[in-house]
Symmetry: C2
Subunit: 158 residues, 2 copies
DNA sequence: TATAAAATTAGAATGATTACAGGGAAGAAG
DNA sequence: CTTCTTCCCTGTAATCATTCTAATTTTATA
């Protein structure tokens, strides 16, 4: 089952309607490796859905998060929440300077997941495994330019 | 070295002044197992420092995060960023219903940390290892009351 | 004590996210 | 194909955690 199909299916199973907007948002989430923000999704889809509202994007994301189909990574130094439709155990590496987020696979996360589900007593809905720091490129840039990496705490944050 | 001493030391090493406010914030962060928000820190310290400003709390937290002495966990469903002065590898379990965050020790996080530092090429400044879901108590509550768990995405988030 | 640099403070500004209200579309049933 | 019900979308207003700013106070140093 493709990632998109998984997202659509979780909506269907929850008895929610598969509107064109929701389908487009799911598709974008599934196919993007960008860990998009609500604003990025909105801007990307706006040409195809001129009447699209930011509120719809937020609503859909909220639903998907609540269903456990999408994880909220929180802000990556840009004051906006990033979303990840890949709920397989993996790590996200965020650069606090250029705000990019990349995936980093590790077998240990798999074990972690199983350990928590098995022994914590929590009903796990999602995870936020995010390491933040300076990516290789920005380490070079900042060591040359002596520019401070910026980091804010919104989010919110979060 | 106590956790408080570690925090104060990282300020000192960075050439920053150890003002009474900063010392109090460090002490609270070090001794609390609550993963406090800026607002919680402010409220707790206000009686002892009647002139304390929220801006000071945010400034100090920002400095400590930038120095890698404190991690930002992001919001736990309450729209505010939570902070964690325990930078030893461990997992945070957040309940999206009661907004409490508890620690969960696991040897795998240790391995994870080492793997990332060794092979990712990133200069790691901090981590946000947060699983969210329903804690045992809230699972009971919600299964009785059928009350939806709430979760928002602010960020900020986080 | 005088001086300069760094911190603190109060309050205003910012901006991502949420709440709200009215209008539309989708499905069920006849 | 209509009606009914329910859910969804949209635009806008409101919220509120966080950041910014300018002025004042504290600190370190000599």
């Amino acid at each position: 089952m493709t990632e998109k199909a998984i997202l659509l299916d979780s909506l269907r199973k929850a008895g929610l309607r598969l509107t064109p907007q929701r389908q487009a948002i799911c598709e974008l989430l599934a196919e993007s490796r960008e860990h998009p923000t609500a604003a990025m999704i909105y801007e990307t889809l706006k040409p195809r859905f001129p009447s699209l509202s930011l509120a719809t994007v937020y609503n859909t994301l909220e639903v998907l998060v609540r269903l456990g189909a999408v994880n909220v990574l929180g802000n990556a130094g840009d004051g906006m929440a990033h979303y990840d439709a890949d709920t397989d155990p993996h790590i996200n590496l965020a650069c606090v300077s250029c705000h990019k987020i990349v995936d980093f696979p590790s077998q240990y996360v798999q074990f972690l997941d199983e350990e928590i589900s098995a022994t914590s007593g929590y009903r796990v809905l999602g995870a936020r495994v995010l390491y933040y720091g300076l990516c290789p490129e920005c380490q070079q840039k900042t060591s040359i330019a002596r520019k401070e990496p910026d980091y804010d705490h919104r989010g919110n944050n979060a």
